[in-house]
């Protein structure tokens, strides 16, 4: 059995995302799979353009936070089957993906609502910090 991944070093690439979605889709009682992928934007901040974000995480606390969020969502949404949350650590360039949330349910309604709920909880509860790196190599803590 493969170990669950909570954190990936660097961006979440397409083939990895596809693999995670495919694994979540296993089983014939799932009718809906809702996916959120968070991507780094090339924001303009005070005249400087973001070229990348460097993420740092408190990994042991993050695992506990992910497990807690999953437990909360499974408890709150009776039709939800699985909740997957994976966050990047390290440098992720603008245009690359740094967060993946995949929620499966028997039906689309709870899949989509639970996915939104999960993303909001991730933003509030995951011990992750980000440093915006600008094109001129300066940086700013978000």
């Amino acid at each position: 059995m493969s170990r669950e991944k909570y954190v990936v070093d660097g961006p979440l690439i397409g083939s990895f995302i596809g693999e995670v979605i495919g694994k979540s889709a296993e089983g014939d009682t799932t009718g809906g799979i809702s996916v959120f992928a968070g991507q780094v934007r090339a924001d303009m901040v005070e005249g400087r353009i973001v070229k990348a974000i460097e993420y740092s995480t408190y990994e042991s606390m993050l695992k506990e936070a992910v497990d807690s969020i999953r437990e909360t969502v499974l408890h709150a949404f009776s039709d939800v089957k699985t909740v997957t949350i994976i966050h990047s650590s390290g440098v992720v360039a603008a245009g690359e993906i740094s967060l993946l949330v995949v929620v499966t349910a028997g039906h689309r309604d709870q899949a989509m609502r639970a996915c939104t709920h999960t993303v909001e909880m991730v933003k509030e509860r995951l011990p992750v910090w980000k440093k915006e790196i600008f094109e001129d190599e300066s940086h700013r803590w978000v």
Partner: protein, 77 residues
């Protein structure tokens, strides 16, 4: 008695490291005072302290081997 102290985000940058060991510190208030001597302007930053991955909002006794973290506001997602 040794305590492992972790720094994250901007505080790791200000501390110049992500981890330090402190000896003979018995509670989080004393630890904060000690860390404030080493990180200039610590009080100007927002952070919460956790002990063994549990957030604390008040002075907490520390034991040998505890892991304390200085956590700036989360910014994940």
């Amino acid at each position: 008695m040794a305590i492992k102290v972790l720094f994250f985000g901007v505080l790791a940058e200000r501390a110049g490291c992500s981890e330090r060991i402190y000896n003979d510190i018995t509670d989080t208030n004393s630890l904060e005072m000690k860390v404030a001597e080493e990180i200039e302007g610590l009080k100007e930053y927002s952070y919460i302290i956790s002990v063994n991955r549990e957030m604390t909002l008040e002075n907490t006794a520390l034991n040998d081997g505890d892991e304390v973290a200085f956590l700036p506001p989360f910014a994940g997602g």
